[in-house]
Amino acid sequence: MFENTLDNFAHHNELRGTNVHFKVLFALLTMLVSLISTSPVVPIIITFLMSFLIIFKAKIPWKFYLKFLTIPFIFGFLTFVFMALFFGVGTTIYEFNIFNLAVTVDGFNLGLLVFARIMGGFSCMAFLALTTPMTELFSVLETFKIPKIVLEIAMMMYRYIFVFLNEALNMYYAQQTRLGYQSFKTTYKSLGMLASNLFIRSWIKGERVYVSMESRGYNGSLYINNYQNSIGIKNLTILVLFESVLILGVYLSGNFRLF
């Protein structure tokens, strides 16, 4: 049922065995570089590099990845269009003869920069999301001193999202079988029933889980344990070098403008 989901790829990819801290550090630092860049050049390079790593190193099917990328792409592109049209004053590149609309140099450059940053930042996020299971991220968060109670709640939520997804889907099919979503009115009604029933079920389930945890001696705290292989000097060096090159790129391309 969950074969083609983000979560499944996070569990089954070629970079799964790589140290989590390394992956997190790599993704966050690269994202930071992408954000401080004042020209679109480096973020675009980052986008391509990350996509390369995701598709060829982690071996995520490119179709899935592209689909994954469409939403931020559309968002970024719209931002770009609006900024190019409505932002900035001064020299224009192109003038439409309706409504006084014009693309200004200022607006175009700003829009392109924002678009590039969105794509760069998102590809870093995608790298992390597609190569690292949530469970391992929890252990990283623990080393970042996130309060334990927050992590425990997050862990349980993560686990039961899938149980409820399954439950909701079953109910949804059952409703469809009995002609639940035929018209606007029945859709409205069926969805309401689904939601309220899911709420009641989660309540009952919560009680059952608590009983089963109590049976195993639950005393108010969960223990998170995770075993990781070390980052290694080699990887660390590569990471530092890579980020330095990117920052150098940011410095050199700082004044680059298309127009």
């Binding site: 469970t135 009983v211 195993r216």
Partner: protein, 288 residues
């Protein structure tokens, strides 16, 4: 052989819901050390409620529970001890597997017992190996099949090294192979000395394994004894919304409708049926 010890003894357990309806009524239930006991009963008969008394999750309205001939008290430390001795495997593994990975879930019990990391790791890997789930350590529960989830749930209890395992409907919702794997596993554990209690309505499976059967209906134990005694009382079986094992049913029909005369008891398993059929054919051909 010394004196046989009762691992669990429930004496006159009565349990009322807050609204006054009686879920259990004067239940006596005892399980000898090293035996395998089945609790048969229809839906809503009180099986799960009774099980939750065994490790003190539910406190009876009246009556008492003894674990290994020690009276169960309801203080915090006593309850912790009881829960370590009596491991309950719940019917729906999704209720039990709450941790994001298999290894974390199995480690949950042992870590609560305050064992050292090394000891926990050791127990977790031993338990997973025993249920045949070694190699699945880092999997998320939602990536496992129903039978696999069940086995992980059992491993989570085994890792706590209990003296009694209580399983609520261990084969429900599993395919035939998954079900027979679970039963074989339980049988093996029982041979190694673990006391086991299972609840079920799978009457075909039970007689193969159980030393003793209790039948519960409407919150009362209405019959107890070895499989032959219990299934010999067809009326009680049917009154409890249960049925005979298929084999026994066939033999009953052969005896009643076709006037074939078998030895005194109905055979309950394929092996027993084969034996008595062969005996019958032999005596028949001797006569003819």
């Amino acid at each position: 052989m010394g004196e046989i010890m009762n691992m669990i003894e429930a004496k006159e357990i009565t349990y009322e819901y807050p609204d006054g309806t009686k879920a259990l009524h004067g239940v006596n239930f005892n399980v000898e050390k090293g035996s395998m006991v089945a609790l048969l009963g229809p839906n809503g008969a009180g099986k799960s409620t009774l099980f939750l008394h065994f490790n003190g999750i539910i406190q009876p309205s009246s009556g008492q529970i003894e674990i290994a001939e020690e009276l169960l008290k309801y203080g915090k430390a006593d309850l912790n001890k009881a829960r370590q001795k009596v491991g309950i495997v719940f019917q729906n593994p999704d209720d039990q597997l709450f941790a994001p990975t298999v290894v974390e879930d199995v480690a949950f019990g042992p870590l609560n017992m305050g064992l050292s990391r090394d000891e926990v790791e050791n127990r977790v890997s031993k338990a997973l190996k025993k249920v045949g789930m070694a190699g699945f350590e880092d999997k998320a529960p939602h990536h496992l099949s129903g039978g696999q989830k069940k086995r992980v749930a059992i491993a989570g209890i085994l890792a706590m090294d209990p003296e009694i395992m209580v399983l609520d409907e261990p084969t429900s919702g599993l395919d035939p192979k998954g079900a027979s794997q679970i039963l074989k596993l339980l049988y093996k554990l029982n041979e190694e000395g673990m006391t086991i209690i299972i609840s079920t309505h799978d009457v075909d499976m039970v007689p193969l394994y159980a030393d003793k059967i209790y039948i519960i209906s409407g919150g009362e134990i209405i019959k107890e004894g070895n499989p032959h005694d219990v299934f010999g009382d067809v009326e009680t079986i049917r009154k409890a919304n249960l049925r005979l094992p298929r084999i026994a049913h066939l033999m009953e029909i052969l005896k009643k409708e076709d006037k074939l005369s078998f030895s005194e008891e109905y055979p309950l398993t394929i092996g027993e049926a084969r034996k008595s059929l062969l005996e019958y054919i032999e005596s028949d051909s001797n006569r003819g």
